[in-house]
Assembly symmetry: C2
Homo-oligomer: 672 residues x 2
């Protein structure tokens, strides 16, 4: 985790920030020769020196005096409107205990960190080895965020109205609103970043990414995403293999739609897979999606054990920065903060958000209708002419529809974000849940409504196969292009001046360069994309067994591209310690559930199966009744399977219980 030469990199990085200007520390254990710059506070250009001095003194003050107990550096001469912040050892250690992070004990086991027992933990004297960079930066951010006005007071150098702090008001949020603070962001450590990049995207480490290094540099959120991506890629190997076997080796195989032929061949294509192949693929899909999710949970729990984030303390959530309302007393904390009545929020959700979401879903249906008209038109034309051109034209409605849905998607994403902001949720988690629910609902509808409609209403399996193939191949092409084009542009045109600066090694210039980068937008879009593709696979792959192969190809190009994007194109994001993928894991599970139903009915609709049943003398009505029974039994099997596979490996369970038991014992002894 800490093998990337921490010490060396700090020395190079801080070459230019004069060490003498850092806050002097009185606590003997916190004295160190080199102070590492962690977080940058970007002030507005016209900030008064008195305001800056006041803010610095506040950040430096001890907790007893309402400060954050951090270290500050006022920046060099040529760069007056920044404050660089670092943290002394004591603050870091206390925060580690408060967060509930686990660290290595002297017996090499993980243990919940306790400040009283600090000397028994390994590396406790060297903060750069003890905590990861991202943890140190998060702690600084957290301490800054928890600054509260001790009493009603004025902010020096800020005019009347916005300059008055009420008692217990959050100072950072107030300063952002008052325009004093423009931004707070963690600093990149260029040397470690380059090291990481070399080990990660440059070598195209798709099957074995440096996950620990990612976790230590970018934090848990990112590390879990890439771990999941890697796990998912490995998990795609069996279905891809099966898909290849079913398509090319089995008798009656051949899922590739032969375009040039007319309706007659199409009809034959209907029987794309032999009945047994079709069944194997459908049952395999169901089992695979369950086993995949369950094993990911195990993997996830062992990762969070390794990263020490399994026992995070729950805290009372502070209001999110964008939250506004009339100032009042929060009934829970008794503190002054903006209040916004729940019923008003629910009215906004019910009367505005819901209808608007409905409108967009309506637009999806409109697009679908348009697609069918176009399809019918082109089919008619193709039957009349039968040329190569009209054959190519057959793909046009699909492509046009894909473009339409893409545009609609982007519009909706903007609208969903604005709506959720306007709903004015108090907690970040509630905001996230409403936002993600909105986007997921639309995304599923937008991506799968057409496929479901084709599959279950029109019951036109060849069309379904064609549609699925075109979606997957188009996607793959777009991805490949961006992966090649964007890095080329960045490396050859945009980052050239950066390189010059690097040679000069001017710290302040580097800071300025980081400020120019756009903030990291989060992994939202990446997860949505993963989910949609997982949906194609688990819901519909039995009609087009090559899905898994295409997705495997896609992931192989996706991982280095995502890694490159994150390392090169954005500012370093703050990262809250997390113990799993959170709500996204639930989304994958739900999709896994729907896949049982989908596969069951797709299997039933397959003409080969129907023919097979008719030969066996089973009537249509009874087939459906049997299918209903099979569906319910399969759901039961899925649930039993999910229940039987424990969510954490045995060794992780024992370690977890050990940690819990030891913490409890320690607490009991402290009381005695």
């Amino acid at each position: 985790m800490t093998s990337m030469g921490d010490k060396g990199s700090v020395q190079t990085q801080t070459k230019v920030l004069s060490q003498g200007c850092w806050t002097e520390v009185s606590c003997p254990c916190c004295v160190s020769k080199q102070v590492e710059p962690l977080v940058l506070i970007q002030l507005s250009d016209n900030v008064q020196p008195v305001t800056k001095r006041w803010l610095i003194s506040l950040i430096e003050a001890s907790k007893r005096h309402g400060g954050a107990a951090l270290l500050t550096h006022p920046g060099e001469d040529e760069c007056r409107n920044v404050i660089v912040v670092s943290a002394p050892r004591c603050t870091l250690l206390r925060a580690t205990e408060d967060l509930g992070l686990c660290k290595k004990y002297h017996n090499e086991e993980m243990a919940s960190f306790s400040y009283h027992d600090r000397d028994n933990f390994t590396n406790v004297d060297d903060m750069q080895k003890f905590l990861t960079l991202v943890e140190r930066q998060y702690i600084v951010k957290n301490e800054l965020d928890s600054l509260q006005a001790q009493k009603k007071q004025r902010i020096p150098g800020v005019p009347e109205a916005p300059g008055v702090l009420e008692a217990w008001e959050n100072i950072c949020q107030k300063l952002v609103r008052a325009g004093v603070i423009k931004d707070i962001f963690p600093l990149h450590d260029q040397q470690r970043l380059n090291d990481l990049g070399r080990r990660w995207y440059s070598k195209k480490q798709i099957w074995r990414q440096p996950l620990d290094a990612i976790q230590s540099y970018f934090g848990g959120t990112m590390a879990f995403y890439f771990s999941f991506l890697q796990f998912y890629t490995w998990a795609l190997v069996p279905p891809a293999f099966l898909g290849l076997v079913l398509t090319f080796l089995l008798p009656g195989g051949g899922g590739v739609v032969k375009e040039q032929a007319g309706e007659g061949v199409m009809e034959e294509e209907d029987y794309g897979l032999s009945v047994s192949g079709h069944m194997v693929q459908a049952v395999f899909s169901m089992l695979w999606s369950t086993v995949f999710i369950e094993f990911w949970k195990r993997r996830s729990s062992s990762l969070s054990h390794r990263w020490g984030t399994r026992h995070l303390t729950e805290r009372f959530a502070e209001p999110r920065p964008g939250f506004h309302g009339t100032l009042g007393i929060n009934p829970v904390t008794g503190r002054l903060e903006p209040l916004f009545p729940e019923w008003q929020r629910q009215l906004r959700v019910g009367l505005v958000s819901l209808p608007l979401v409905g409108l967009f879903l309506g637009l999806v249906v409109l697009g679908m209708t348009g697609f069918y008209h176009g399809e019918a038109l082109v089919q008619g034309f193709h039957q009349d002419s039968g040329s190569l051109f009209s054959g190519v034209l057959l793909y046009m409605p699909s492509i046009a529809h894909t473009v339409y849905t893409t545009i609609l998607k982007n519009m909706y994403h903007a609208v969903a974000m604005q709506l959720t902001k306007w709903e004015n949720h108090r907690e970040e988690s509630s905001f996230q849940n409403h936002h993600i629910t909105k986007v997921l609902l639309f995304t599923f509808f937008n991506n799968f409504a057409v496929l479901f409609h084709i599959a279950f209403y029109k019951q036109d399996l060849p069309l379904l196969r064609k549609k699925l193939a075109s979606l997957l191949i188009l996607n793959q092409l777009v991805n490949q292009c961006t992966e090649v084009v964007v890095p080329f542009i960045v490396d050859h045109f945009l980052s050239a001046p950066h390189k010059k600066e690097q040679e000069d090694d001017l710290e302040m210039d580097k800071l300025r360069a980081q400020r120019r980068l756009p903030p990291f937008p989060g992994l939202f879009a990446e997860y949505i994309e993963l989910l949609v593709k997982f949906g194609y696979l688990s819901l519909f792959s039995c009609v087009y067994p090559l899905t898994a192969v295409l997705l495997l190809l896609n992931n192989v190009t996706e991982i280095p591209w995502d890694a490159y994007k994150i390392c090169k194109l954005f500012r370093k994001p703050f990262s809250t310690p997390v113990s799993n993928m959170g709500v996204w894991q639930t989304a994958f599970e739900v999709l896994g559930f729907v896949s049982v139903m989908s596969n069951c009915w797709l299997l039933l609709l397959s003409p080969r199966v129907q023919e097979f049943c008719l030969e066996g003398g089973i009537s249509g009505k009874n087939i459906i009744l049997v299918a209903i029974l099979v569906e319910h039994v399969l759901i039961l099997v899925k649930m039993v399977l999910a229940f039987m596979i424990p969510d954490e490996p045995d060794w992780v369970r024992i370690k977890r219980e050990q940690i819990e038991f030891n913490s409890m014992q320690a607490l009991g002894q402290q009381k005695l």
Copy 2:
């Protein structure tokens, strides 16, 4: 909660136990004139005085010296083989904090009890008002259970082999195994019990039971059961009303099966309810079961807030008393305790328990087959003769089958208990889960397999209705009988000597009388019965709308009878503080889920609906497809509904967050 004259009752109860013999306390805050006897340790008759003295000194010793810090009374002259145990104030208060119980703060709000802050809690000087009787008794039990040998030692007065205590071995379990301790049970407080009885079953308080008094005397498990029963009874009013309206007021109504008529009328009976009535009942059942469970959760959370059990601390589970294995080091605690390999347990579950359960399920099917043969035989006979006798005979197969299943049930319950014991689970919770799962599986199969078979395989709705009615009415009759007969026998024959003793007011005789009562078997059977009846209602009530009426009647007789049973026929049980109904709530939720499917398909099978559809020109295959769609949509609606109704009322949520926030603040300040 404490309005039942605690002080007075202690004085009468302890009249005979001479106060001078109690342990003398050194701590000034624990001194009190009257010590209340809480728990009785029943030793074996041939116990050595030296063993008894050793045990007493151990119980009295402070925690630092490995004792339980409790008070003991060696019993009066004529009753040498008991130790009566009580607890001093300090021990009670510290245990209250350890358990995580909430108590009234000086500002009348509930707050997590903290020993450091004890003076700010109301009634903290009077343990009888501060803690409920059941809490004091549980704390004593808990302290006794946590007695561990500090080092390897011999038990004085116990011969070689069973008399050696290993280091960290659980002393009470060892003494039970060595035959020194026969039993440990909490003592009844006769006066409070009589008070409670007067307010509870004597007045037939079905709609407003004295829940707080039940909670304070019998503990949370019992109180939640009776709260649920009361809530359920209230909740049955709307479906009962609907059932009456549908049966007697609507045109085409009349769910009562007219027995005397032949097949022709039977056919007509098929149409028992008008199509709209049938649909109303089915949809109502689904919604009702969801809303019922969701609102119970809200009620449950507000009850646990009132009783201060919402924030119980989780502890590392000790092995259950019956657990055995080779002594070894537990990897989690590092203590010596019996170990039993997990794979061996799983082998036992998989290779023995599962097949045996399967065998019993097979016996259920055998019974069902027998029932059909009988049914066919009787039907034939009735058609031949058509007499009143043969008409009555029509009910015979149903009754015989009910008797068969009852016998099978009792056998199975014994087998399930033995099997689960033999599986040798380490934790009590794991034991309970395996046991409950076994019993529930069989119970559902035993009670509902016939009904499902009749409903969905034979699709014979009149038979279903007849079967349901006979089950419900028979049940009701049996209940009524026991309710009248058993109390009569107990009051007139068994409890006569008790009454005499009471007049003499000899404390030791009362203790002896309590020892003669059987131990309380738990609420297992009661919950199973409730679940089965809830199943009749939510799964099948749409074919027989009077179900709710019969269940309402049943509950009205059930509540006083259960209350009587618990107060009069058993020893007082220990009761662990709980915050909800636990696994039983889940069972009700699962049943609610199955009810959506059941109602949906019952609706579809109703001949009226089928006729209606045929008139509307919808083919059989399409009806089924529509029904599938409707089922999935209804399940979705149910889930959305369950999600929309918050699991705790707003005021409880705010109070909970307040308590959590305050505890966190207090912890933070303690650290500073």
